[in-house]
Point group: C2
Chain length 205, copies 2
Amino acid sequence: MAVYPEQIERLCDMFRRLDGIGRKTAMRLTLSVLDLPLEDVEAFAGALMAAKTEVGFCKCCQNISSAELCPICAATGRDRSIICVVEDFRAAMALEKMQEYNGLYHVLHGVISPMKGIGPDKLKIRELIKRLDGSVSEVILATNPTPEGETTAMYLSRLIAPLGVRVSRIANGMPVGGDLEYADEITLRRAIEGRYSMEGANPTK
Amino acid sequence: MAVYPEQIERLCDMFRRLDGIGRKTAMRLTLSVLDLPLEDVEAFAGALMAAKTEVGFCKCCQNISSAELCPICAATGRDRSIICVVEDFRAAMALEKMQEYNGLYHVLHGVISPMKGIGPDKLKIRELIKRLDGSVSEVILATNPTPEGETTAMYLSRLIAPLGVRVSRIANGMPVGGDLEYADEITLRRAIEGRYSMEGANPTK
């Protein structure tokens, strides 16, 4: 049976290494590369190398950055007394999109997971503790509400609380726009447990 | 609001040029490039360039090929008297996967589409006619059963039939495993019109 030229198969294999790409999608992407003009493919190859070689991590918050300090850590208008701890830079970007949080971040680059052999020493925890030099009054633990994320939050809270820094955890409950019918039991239990008083509520539209 | 480094945005823009990739998927792919080892990213960039620069079209059937003649046209065991005409190389590969068709192909590189300004002269029709030098006894028109595909098939049949070559069109009907309840009316009508006698049928499992 005839197959695609070896160069096509090779590019297809590379696309398959990317997150969430299977054989069929990889081939679709590969074939659509052939439809691009040569200059664009050259630019694509250049962009791949640039993204890999020129982008590193912020020496303060460990977020991805092309400079020594990321734009968030380098910004002057931000509240430097609050640090929001997240698992990865995707989470930091999601919070940043909200355009409401004005503190700093700290990216752990993972969560504690004995199953995958990831202990606290493999995460950027040392770098986080180093930042708690008295200028920080609160650390918000925003790891995902998964078993690993909860374990990591628990571990960090025990580590940080003795340093006299307020430690908080993001709330659990119903996602806005969600439907109670489809919510899982644990989420519902947390939503009830975390209920807040509506007396004196002053809802804005 | 802080955004991703410019190198990340640039790579993301390149991924978006590929077929079926939106902003979110492009960013997921971009960020997963960062997780690859440097050697793999180098190999990826190399594979991109190789696929674009080293892969051309078979001078006979116009399918993608890294050699002058594609493996199908160059093969010795194939029936050179039948040519199956397809819109693009994806269709040729789909038929080839079937592992039953043993003739040759001809890739049109599109279909006639007045809406998109694609006339017969933009397709590889001249190259197809040139192949009908007496050695070909049948041309199977396997353009997609879409309005453009049907128009193209009609156009080609009028062009080829006078040359004394048998012209056939792939069958329309119910896809195997499909459900009559969800089939569209035109497909059902074609399935009824194209019904075949089961007398003397010798079904194999």
